[in-house]
């Protein structure tokens, strides 16, 4: 196979693989696992440049240059991220990453405060809030969250204590590398523990996506939810908060 001995062939292959990779994450929406929507136009520009590069480089396939071991080595390096993407099939940052980064249970920035201007819906007596909104309210307008009924979604992280777990969402600014884990402590009442849906310790695993409905209370400056209902939900299409 003469083509396999042509270094130009590997140049074309690298560009083709990355073009297909970028197109696939754009079409499936999987790019949201890695980067914020803000990067969408940059990825599109990258795709267009790769497309031009591919067309022009393909026209030069007849320019034969003997492949050496460096070309093969470079090709394998480029292949590594694509292979790991196909094998691991990543879904969203796990709670393990939250522990390594340190879960923020009190966090306030101008950016977080902006979330208070988003429209807040209700579900029965519960206000549907994100973890980001709850943390912002607990610092800026505690009276609007303390002793109020809330419904909030997130990932489960179970620690050592039996009757508590932490509900986690990652807050993304640009990409998963900068994701900051936001968390709220959830506690369920003693007397209800025997009801089947409240035997959370046995039923829920780390990484499970759940919706918690209950009363929010501010204790020692930190917000805590006393759960009344916990239900498993499908992971949202957008796993992160922005």
């Amino acid at each position: 196979m003469k083509v396999l001995k042509n270094a130009q062939f590997y140049r074309i292959l690298v560009c083709l693989f990355y073009l297909l990779f970028f197109i696939s994450i754009l079409l499936t929406g999987n790019f949201k696992i890695f980067v914020k929507k803000f990067y969408f136009p940059y990825i599109i520009i990258g795709v267009l440049i790769l497309l031009f590069i591919l067309v022009i480089e393909s026209k030069r396939i007849k320019k034969f240059k003997e492949t050496n071991v460096y070309d093969l080595f470079s090709f394998l390096i480029f292949l590594f991220p694509i292979l790991i993407f196909l094998i691991v099939k990543p879904t969203s940052l796990p709670t393990y990453a939250a522990l390594k980064r340190g879960i923020k249970t009190e966090f306030l920035s101008e950016d977080i405060l902006k979330s208070l201007y988003e429209k807040i819906e209700t579900e029965g007596k519960y206000k549907k809030l994100t973890i980001k909104q709850i943390l912002a309210l607990s610092k800026s307008k505690p009276e609007e969250i303390n002793e109020k009924e809330v419904a909030v979604e997130g990932m489960v992280y179970k620690g050592e204590e039996k009757e508590k777990f932490t509900l986690i969402r990652f807050l993304i600014t640009c990409c998963a590398a900068d994701a900051t884990p936001l968390g709220i402590e959830v506690e369920y009442k003693e007397e209800k523990k025997e009801e089947e849906e409240f035997v959370i310790k046995e039923k829920l695993k780390n990484e499970d996506w759940i919706k918690v409905k209950g009363k929010a209370k501010i204790e020692d400056g930190k917000v805590k939810i006393y759960a009344e209902e916990v239900e498993k939900i499908q992971p949202p299409t957008d796993p992160y908060l922005y």
């Binding site: 690298v14 590069i53 480029f78 393990y96 980064r101 900068d178």
Partner: protein, 334 residues
């Protein structure tokens, strides 16, 4: 003759390395298959550590590749469309003036996440004084409208934005002047980028230059991003925050954390603002050091510039940032 021998022995080493990897990989697969545990692979790939590593690696690469491609296109366009003489007339040849101009070029070519490397290499190659090319390389990810605005959003403080801008400016101009040689050949790594086919159209030449830049720097970015993702996956950030006990340690630990995390300069301010208990100067140093010398950038520097220069750049940069941080802590407190 000596060089040829050296090259051949290096080739042999790479060959042996590739064969060893292949053998090891085949052995693992065979072993799993033989013991009937091939289906366990599914469990391995679901491992949270592997998931976290893969997501951070691909996040850095998706961001980095987009910017390297844009940077490579700008670089190819400069190479093909602007003649060297014209380019030299556009920029002052005085190394002091050039270092100052270079640090503001981020407003003209606002690329980040490695995109500035092909552009700065091309600027130096085309005849901008080396001091200007270096200060552009260091400053552009910080001194540009998007980064400064996102810093304001994260901190809601004009003082922090000004502090970040000022330290980035002083640092890039100072290091640019300090380590810039007269001769650009002492900086630029030579790689095959001459296009011998004269019949090519200009647009084709631009994209062929872009491909060269992308393939050379992209490879190094993958290596850098892999190291950064390993650090991000296995090292706890709290370790760095817990050692930030006094003025110098707090600056030093944030400097090292920013190097290993390799965050995008558009986003690092939000991460810095979450380090609630640290003094402002340590947060500013975190936002200076990362965009100038994060681990993924360092590896890509080696693709574009000579190793001797990169080592000099990194040492002078590290100590300049540290000293500016200490001076800053006395000026603004912390």
């Amino acid at each position: 003759m000596g060089n040829r021998f050296k090259k051949n022995s290096k080739e042999e080493r790479i060959k042996k390395f590739l064969i060893s990897i292949g053998v090891l990989f085949s052995f693992i697969i065979f072993n799993l298959w033989y013991s009937g545990k091939l289906s366990e692979l599914n469990k391995i790939v679901q491992n949270p550590k592997l998931q976290a590593f893969t997501i951070v690696l691909l996040a850095i690469l998706i961001e980095g590749f987009s910017f390297i491609l844009i940077g490579s296109l700008i670089s190819g366009t400069i190479e093909v469309l602007i003649p060297e003489e014209k380019f030299k007339k556009l920029f002052s040849q005085n190394r002091f003036v050039s270092a100052i101009t270079g640090s503001f070029l981020g407003f003209l070519f606002p690329v980040c996440s490695c995109g500035e490397i092909p552009v700065s290499r091309r600027l130096i190659k085309k005849g901008i004084p080396t001091s200007g090319g270096i200060s552009y390389l260091l400053a552009t990810a910080i001194i540009n409208p998007i980064t400064l605005f996102s810093t304001y959003l994260a901190f809601s403080s004009g003082k922090i934005v000004f502090g970040r801008f000022l330290i980035a400016f002083i640092c890039s101009v100072f290091v640019g002047i300090l380590i810039s040689p007269e001769n650009k050949e002492e900086i630029l790594k030579e790689y095959e980028e001459e296009i011998h086919d004269e019949n090519l159209k200009k647009i084709e030449k631009i994209f062929i230059h872009s491909t060269n830049d992308f393939l050379i720097m992209g490879k190094y970015l993958i290596i850098g991003a892999t190291i950064a993702s390993l650090f991000s996956t296995f090292i706890s950030r709290d370790v760095f925050i817990s050692i930030a006990k006094n003025r110098i340690f707090s600056i030093l630990s944030m400097q090292i954390l920013s190097i290993i995390l390799s965050l995008c300069s558009y986003a690092d301010a939000f991460v810095a603002s979450s380090f609630t208990y640290l003094p402002p100067i340590s947060k500013i140093i975190f936002m200076i050091s990362g965009p100038m010398m994060s681990i993924s950038l360092i590896i890509v520097y080696f693709s574009a510039f000579k190793a001797k220069f990169v080592k000099k750049l990194l040492i002078s940069l590290f100590f300049t940032i540290l000293i500016l941080g200490i001076i800053g802590s006395f000026v603004i407190g912390g």
